[in-house]
Each structure stands twice: as structure tokens, then as C-alpha cells.
């Protein structure tokens, strides 16, 4: 299982001429790995995630996601790669306010036939199974407006959405920063369990060093990025 899900070589990125935010000689994530990437805000985390998710195009160096050289793909192909194979969890406000809980979970299936196929014929049931495994099985709760859910519940809905249709890579950008310690640990445990069950890789980004032991590997962005934090 040494297949590389993410492979970065000599990756450079600057938002403006001379304002380099990333210069990463080497970084990779293997299939099935759960990697903790630590970095304070302003360290280029979001830029790196944007590059991996394919919403940004690399400027120098190479970045391969699922073996695809992102620099050579068109924006549309990068979008499709993300739609088919990447699940994303944000820090907060993850949910579309006008969709129901299951409507939110099923959202990626609207944009990807690959994930629609992977979720099986009973997508609704699959969504409910995922939600139940993440501790959201109360029928009453599922009927509520998503804005009435607690932040912890919202994040678990977002996790179910990232996981549905078995994407190969889950990206989580500070998903626990709005949770208290108990909820945070429970969230990470549930997420890790589901990621492992589905065989996906997890790239979990946070500034909170104390979370590192909960993952198979921890990487400090400052250690792999040659551009200083001050940049």
C-alpha cells in the first residue's frame, strides 16, 4: 500500500510577483494514511489545500493527486478530479443552509456520477448510515434545519458529506477549531474510524499541535515549506 495519493516535488506558489507563500521541495501522502499537517494561520496552509483540491493551479514544480499531474490538467479536469475523488471539510459553516441534513450529505452526488455510483442505488440510505455511524441517527434531528444544529453536529454532517461516495482523499481544514475539547476528540475519532473503514487517505490541517498523536503521521508545514511564516 505505498501508492501515493498526494505527491509534491519542488512546488512553488506566489499570489503576487515576489510574494512567495509556498516552496515545498518534497511532500507526499500515501494511500490509507491519516496525515496531520500542522501550521499556524498565514503559513500557506489554505494555499496548499487549494492546490491539492485543484481550485488553484501550481506555478512551479509538480503536484500529483491520485497520480494526476495537476499542472497539466485543465481547470475543468481538476474540478472533476475533486468532484469524483476528494471530500472537503471546512473549519465551520460547512452546510448549505437551504438543504436538509441528508440533502447536504448527498450534495457531492449531484456533481459526480462516479460518487453517485459508489454510493449505490440507495443513496439516501447510505447517507443515513454514514450519519448514524457519526452519531447522528435521531430522526427528529435529521428533520431540523441545518442552521439549528450545534456546531459539533454540523461538522459531523460535513464529515458524512465528505465521505459519501467513497472518495480517495479527505481534506479537513481546521474542522475542530470551533469545537470544545470533548467534541473535538470525539469528532476526530469518528472521522478517523470512517476514513479507515472506507480506505481513504486523510489530510487533516490544524494549528493545534496537541492533536498530532491522533494521526498516523504528523508533518509541520514550517518544516517542509522553505518560505518563512513571515512571508
Amino acid at each position: 500500500m505505498s501508492e501515493k495519493i498526494i505527491e509534491v516535488h519542488g512546488l512553488g506558489f506566489a499570489w503576487k510577483q515576489g510574494l512567495q507563500v509556498l516552496d515545498i521541495p518534497e511532500f507526499s501522502v500515501d494511500a490509507g494514511e491519516r496525515v496531520f499537517l500542522r501550521g499556524p494561520s498565514g503559513s500557506g496552509k489554505s494555499t496548499l489545500l487549494g492546490l491539492i483540491a485543484g481550485v488553484l493551479a501550481p506555478q512551479t514544480g509538480t503536484i500529483r493527486v491520485l497520480g494526476e499531474d495537476m499542472a497539466r490538467l485543465s481547470a475543468a479536469r481538476r474540478d472533476r478530479l475533486r468532484a469524483d475523488h476528494v471530500g472537503v471539510i471546512f473549519q465551520m459553516f460547512n452546510l448549505v443552509p437551504y438543504l436538509s441534513v441528508t440533502g447536504n450529505v448527498l450534495l457531492p452526488l449531484r456533481f459526480s456520477s462516479a460518487r453517485r455510483k459508489a454510493a449505490g442505488s440507495d443513496a439516501d440510505g447510505e447517507a443515513r448510515r454514514l450519519l448514524a455511524r457519526l452519531g447522528l441517527e435521531d430522526e427528529q434531528l435529521l428533520k431540523r434545519r441545518v442552521s439549528d444544529l450545534s456546531v459539533g453536529q454540523q461538522q459531523r454532517v460535513a464529515a458524512a458529506r465528505a465521505l459519501i461516495g467513497a472518495p480517495k482523499l479527505i481534506i479537513a481544514d481546521e474542522p475542530t477549531s470551533a469545537l470544545d475539547a470533548d467534541a473535538r476528540d470525539r469528532f476526530i475519532a469518528l472521522l478517523s474510524e470512517e476514513v479507515t473503514r472506507s480506505g481513504a487517505s486523510l489530510l487533516f490541517v490544524s494549528h493545534d499541535r496537541s492533536l498530532a498523536p491522533l494521526f498516523t503521521r504528523a508533518v509541520d508545514l514550517a518544516a517542509i515549506n522553505r518560505v518563512g511564516v513571515s512571508a
Binding site: G50, R82, L99, R110
Partner: protein, 422 residues
Amino acid sequence: MSALFSLAWQSLLNRRGSVILTIVAVALSVALFLGVEKARSGAREGFDNTISGTELIVGAPTGSVNLLLYSVFRMGNATAEVTWPTYQKIAAREDVAWTVPIALGDSHRGFRVMGTTQGYFDHYKFGGGQSLAFAEGRPFDDLFDAVIGADVARELGYTPETPLVLSHGLGSAELGAGHENRPFRVAGILKPTGTPVDRTVHVSLEAITAIHVGWETGAKNPLSDSISEDMIRSFDLTPRTVTAIFVGLKSRGSLLRTQRDINTNRGEPLMAIIPGQALAELWNVTAVAERALLAVSAFVIAVGLVSILTSILTSLNERRREMSILRATGARPHHVFLLLVFEAGLVGFLGAALGIVLVHALIGVLAPMLQSQYGVSFGVRLPGLVDLAVLGAVTTASLLIGAIPALTAMRRSLADGLSVRL
């Protein structure tokens, strides 16, 4: 596509408060436009359906529109009449199949009285060839028989044998302009036609002459009451003038020649008009006003469309986060674009549809009143081509207008990527 469509639908449902207001704004603007359009076409159709089968209308020289209006639509008054000998000359023409002379000028409780001949009931046609038909009774037979239109009967509650008194001119019998010394009775009631016939009291030409015995000076001679009905019946009641003549030709091929012949008549000056042509002239006159009205109401629709634009543009800022969530879960830029375009299109479509329902409901409620008060007949019509065209045009325009906020949102979502912060 359908996935986005349902997203757009759910997004609108979520903001239904403000969305409904926008829909209502569009609906009102569409209803105004269609209302104007339907009143216009209703009025035209009503006029166009009023006379058919009559090839020429002959009267004293005046404007052709004027002749048409007073002879067929009972609007306005004739300024001059045609003498009886001239009428006889026209009736005797080789190319003329039939003539129906009419004499106007009296009234009965607000309804115009028309003197004519039996031939009127045979030759007058409306609504593309329908003949007049009797609901009750029969054509006038006796000198003091009257045949009334459906509205006259309904509004005055008349039945056959009801006596009635005509008034001179358009005055009322109570003000001393009455022909109360010559009472008529209802002989027949016509079926409704949706034309001015419904609001007309028909009597014989001779009756018109008879009631004016003693009115030779233009006002009532006090001695005329002493002339008994029997004496009048013994008079020569051949009319001296008629107001206009409806003419049917033996062959339509001679229409223009006959018209020119009559127009250039030596002796008494005459005017012959072709009803359809005179109507077209009338529409030319009113077209400017109609176009102005339609233009104004089209601008009101534009205002309605701008309200769609405003409501979507103002919602974009608070939906920035939503767009990046959609992008993160796999939506491509064109999905973001289509989502907003669909939302605009849906609002436009719903607004236009509601406007169409509104205008038809209003017509359903108001049509009887408009018909009786203004003679504008809308008929009972289902939504037609015009409604469909407006529905299509408003929806298309909304989709196009939706492209403005959609482009903004698409560009922003590309720039924002996954990193939108609140």
C-alpha cells in the same frame, strides 16, 4: 441540469419571503401588460365581430370612421341624412342585391332607437356570418311594434307585450321630449350577440315617421296630441330621409366600382364605405395610443425584471460561503453560474405565470361589467398564444438578466476557491 434545477428551487424556497415579493412584482407587471393587451384585442375583436356580410354602408358625406361609428356602433350622431328618393335609386341599382335603410335619432331610456325594415333581420350579420335570432316573439309587424336587443330586455326587465315610450333625440321622456302620445309594445326580443344590437330598440321606418308627426319644426307641436293613432295609420308614412343604408352586392367583384359610383353620385352627395376598410382606418388612428400604452406596460415589465436582478445581486454577498461550499463538493464554475441563472429564470417564470392567472381571473370577474358598461367584450377565453409568448419572453429575459449576478458569482467563486472566510 436537473440536479441544479432542484438546488435552485430549494434555494428559492429557503428565501421565500423576499422571493415571493419579487414574484408578485413580476406578476403585477405582467398582469398590467396582458390586461392592456387583452383590452385592446378585446375591443378590436368586438368591433371586428360587429358587422359582416354587409359590403357597403352608404350615408351622407362625413368621415368614413364617423359613418361607421354612428351607423353600426351607435356612437355619435349623423350630421346629415340621405333622402328617400336617393335611397330608392341605390336600392334599384343593377349590382345591388339588397339594401337595409336605417334611421337613427331617438332613444328609449338610454338605449338608441333604430328605425329599419324587415330586411334588417335577414341581412344584418355579425361575428363572421351569424344571423340575428329571436329569443322570444317575432319581428315587428304592426306600426307600433318594437324589437329589443338582449341587453335592453335584461336591464329594463321587458318581455313581449311590455309597452314602451320613445324619446326624441337622446333626451328623456320625463323632460318633455317624449313620444308618450305614441306608445309602442315589445313584439320580439333578440338573442344576445355581443354587439351594439343588444343595446338597440328596433322599430319600423314608418314608425319613426309616425312618432314625428307634429314634430316637423324640431319641437313638439302641442296640437299633435289631437291626432289619433287611427289618423296616423291613414297617413303616408314613407320616410323622407334615412340615416344610412346597409348594402349587399350581387357580386363582391363589383365592390370597388360600386363604391366609386356612389361616391361620385351626381345630385345628392353620398359616401359609401367598406366596413372592414373603415375599421382598419379606425385602428390606424388608435394604433398610436395603443402602442404607447403597450410600451408603457412593457417598461413596467422591465422594472419587474430589474427587481429580480436586484434581489439576486443583494443576496450574493451572504451567499458567498454557499458558493464555495458548492465548489468544494464538486460544483464546477458553470454550475454556480447555472444555479443563479435558474433561480432568476424560475422567479421570472413563476411571476409571469402568476400574472397570467391573475389577469384571467380579473377578466373572469370583470368581463360582465366591462361588457355592459363599456361594450368591451373579452369573451371567456383560455390563456392563448399571447400569454404563452409573454410567459416565454419574460422567462427568457429573466434567464438573461440572471447571467449578470451569475457571472459575478462565478468569477468570485473562482477567486475565492476553498478559502472563503466569513
